[in-house]
Amino acid sequence: MSLSIPINLAVEDDLSEAVLTKMLPARYDVGVCYKKGGFGYLKKKIRGFNDASNSMPFLVLTDLDMGECAPVLIEEWLPVPVHHNLLFRVTVREVESWVLADHDRFAKFLGIRKTLVPVNVDTIDDPKEYLINLARGSRSRDLREDIVPAKGSTAKQGPGYNDRLVSFVREFWDPCEAMRNSPSLARTIRAVENFQPEWDH
C-alpha cells in the first residue's frame, strides 16, 4: 500500500474545486485550495505554483474555454519546463461539461430526459450556457430560480448556481460514470491515478 500523497489545488471556482475533490482517489490528501475567481489569477500565479511543486505537488485545473487546444494553452501559460509534481489539467471547454458528463444522474437531478444531454460533452461549445438551458426545462421551480438567471438580468448565472451544482457534485456526481462521456475528464483521471510525486533530496 502506498503512502498518501499531499497535494494543493489551484482552480478557477468553487465548482472546479468540488469536482477535483470528488475525483481525487483516496490516497490524496488535499492541503490548500488556491482560488480567486477566474483564470486570470491562475495564469498570473502558475509560475509560482510550478516552482512550489518542488516541495508540494500541485494540481492546477483551468478551462480551455474558446482556446484552441490544451497543449497550446499550457505552452502559452508556462513556457518553462513543467515540473513533474505540477499536474496541469485543462477542461474542454469548461468544468460544466465534466458535470454534464454524468448524464443519468444530472438528468435525474434536474428532472429532465437524459437524452437531452449529448453523448460526448467535450463537443459542446458553451457548456455553461448549455447547462443553464437544460435547467430551464427542469420541473422544479426552486432549481430553475437558483440556476437560471432572472429574466432581463445581466447576470450569466442564477443566484444559487454555484451552490446547487457544488452540492450535486458532492452528493451525486460519479466521476467513473462521467469519464465515459468526456475524453478530457478521462485523461485527467488517468493522470491523477498514475501520478507519483518525485521528491528532491
Binding site: 475567481g37 438567471p149 438580468s153 445581466t154 447576470a155 448565472q157 443566484p159 448556481y161
Partner: protein, 384 residues
C-alpha cells in the same frame, strides 16, 4: 411585499433619486456617498409608523429638518419621499405612498406635511391637505399613516413599514449590553438587545433557528457545536456553545467569548431567518473571512425564499466588498451605484449605465465592472 420603486427629493445627501428596486439590492459607492442615508429612508418610514413613533419624533430623532434636508438643495424646497410597494418583484404596484415635509421659514420653525398621498393600485385614496387640514393646520404635523384611527384603508402599508428591520450588529454591544446604559435606539439596530430578542422568540422557533445557524456555522467555525440559548441565575439571556477541543467533552463558551466574526455571523443569520419584511443590512462583510463573504449573496438568496407564500423577502444592503460582489449570480439590475457630486449624490442602477452593461455582458463580475468607479484615493502626503 417589497419596495419596488422609490423617489426622493432633498433627502439627506440626495437631491433627486428615482430608481426601481428588486428582491436583492446592493448599494455601492465611496465612503460618505450616502449608503446609510439611503437605508435611513426606510428606517424613517418605520419610525413614523412605530408605536410611540410618529412623524415629529422621526424627524427630531434625526436632529430636525435641517439635518434631513439635502445640503445641496435650493431654497424653499421640501423633503419628498415616495415609495411603491408590490407583492413580488414581477407584480404590478399594489400601493403607493408619498409625503412632502417642510419646516416653517419663521416663527416656531415647526415641521409640517406639505402633502400626504396614498394610491391603492391606480386609484388615489388619500390626498392631503384636505378641507380639515385647511381649517386646522396643526393636523399637518401628523401623518394619517401613523394614526390607527385614520390608516385603516391602507393598514397594509403601515404594517409593512412597521416591520422593516435594520441590522448593523456591533459585537461589543452584544457582549457588554450593560456597559452602555440609556434608553437604547429604536429598533435596536446595533444588537444591544439582540440576546433578549432571541430569548423572547417562541421556544420551538428559536431552537429551530439556532439549529439552522449552527448548521450554517459548521463550515465557517467548525469547532463550535450545540449552539443554544440559556438564562443565567439572574435571568439574563445568553448564547452558549460547546467549543470542541482535545478533551472529549469540549468546553462551554458564552457570547462574551465568541469572536467578533462569529457573533456578527450569528446576528446576520438570525436577522435573515427572523420575519419576512424588508431587511436592511449595513456592510454585512465586516469581520468575516473572505471565503464566507463570497457566499453571502447566495446565502441571502436561499434564505429569502419564504416557505409559505413562495414570495421573497427583500434585502437591501450596503457593501464595499469585492468578495461579496464577485458572485457571478448578481445582476447589474440588482446594484445601485451612488456617485457624489456638487449637486448631491446621484443613484443609478448599474445596468442602466451603458458602459457597465457592456462590461457585464463581456463577462466581468460586478466587483470588476462597478467597484473601480467607487474607488477614491487617499493622499498620504499630509502624514509624512
Amino acid at each position: 411585499m417589497i419596495v419596488s420603486h422609490i423617489t426622493l427629493k432633498n433627502w439627506r445627501n440626495f437631491q433627486s433619486v428615482d430608481v426601481d428596486l428588486g428582491n436583492r439590492v446592493f448599494l455601492v459607492g465611496p465612503n460618505a456617498s450616502g449608503k446609510s442615508n439611503f437605508l435611513d429612508v426606510f428606517r424613517f418610514l418605520r419610525d413614523i409608523t412605530n408605536p410611540g413613533g410618529g412623524l415629529q419624533k422621526a424627524i427630531s430623532d434625526r436632529g430636525g429638518i435641517p439635518k434631513i434636508r439635502c445640503l445641496a438643495a435650493r431654497r424653499e424646497s421640501d423633503v419628498e419621499i415616495e415609495v411603491s410597494l408590490a407583492e413580488t418583484a414581477t407584480k404590478e404596484t399594489s400601493w403607493r405612498y408619498a409625503i412632502g415635509i417642510e419646516q416653517e421659514g419663521h416663527g416656531h420653525r415647526n415641521t409640517y406635511l406639505t402633502y400626504e398621498q396614498v394610491w391603492e393600485g391606480n386609484q388615489q385614496i388619500l390626498n392631503r391637505p384636505d378641507n380639515a387640514d385647511e381649517k386646522d393646520r396643526l393636523r399637518l404635523t401628523q401623518t394619517n399613516l401613523e394614526q390607527i384611527s385614520l390608516n385603516q384603508p391602507f393598514r397594509d402599508i403601515s404594517n409593512f413599514f412597521d416591520s422593516v428591520q435594520y441590522l448593523h450588529l456591533v459585537p461589543q454591544l452584544v457582549r457588554y449590553p450593560h456597559a452602555f446604559p440609556g434608553p437604547g435606539i429604536p429598533g435596536d439596530p446595533y444588537g444591544q438587545n439582540f440576546l433578549e430578542r432571541v430569548a423572547r422568540t417562541r421556544k420551538d422557533t428559536r431552537q429551530a433557528r439556532l439549529r439552522k445557524i449552527e448548521e450554517a456555522l459548521r463550515v465557517a467555525v467548525p469547532h463550535l457545536k450545540q449552539l443554544t440559548d440559556i438564562k443565567d441565575k439572574s435571568g439574563i439571556p445568553h448564547l452558549e456553545a460547546t467549543y470542541k477541543h482535545w478533551r472529549p467533552k469540549g468546553a462551554k463558551q458564552r457570547e462574551d467569548q465568541f469572536s467578533d466574526g462569529t457573533l456578527r455571523l450569528i446576528g446576520l443569520l438570525w436577522a435573515l431567518l427572523d420575519g419576512d419584511s424588508l431587511l436592511l443590512l449595513e456592510e454585512p462583510e465586516l469581520s468575516l473571512n473572505s471565503g464566507i463573504v463570497s457566499k453571502l449573496p447566495a446565502l441571502m438568496h436561499q434564505l429569502q425564499r419564504q416557505k409559505r407564500s413562495r414570495q421573497r423577502r427583500q434585502v437591501i444592503l450596503s457593501t464595499h466588498s469585492a468578495d461579496l460582489l464577485s458572485d457571478e449570480g448578481i445582476g447589474g439590475e440588482e446594484v445601485l451605484i451612488l456617485s457624489p457630486s456638487a449637486e448631491g449624490t446621484g443613484v443609478k442602477v448599474a445596468s442602466s449605465i451603458r458602459e457597465i452593461r457592456d462590461l457585464l455582458e463581456g463577462g466581468l463580475s460586478i466587483a470588476d465592472a462597478v467597484l473601480p468607479r467607487t474607488v477614491r484615493q487617499m493622499e498620504l502626503g499630509a502624514f509624512k
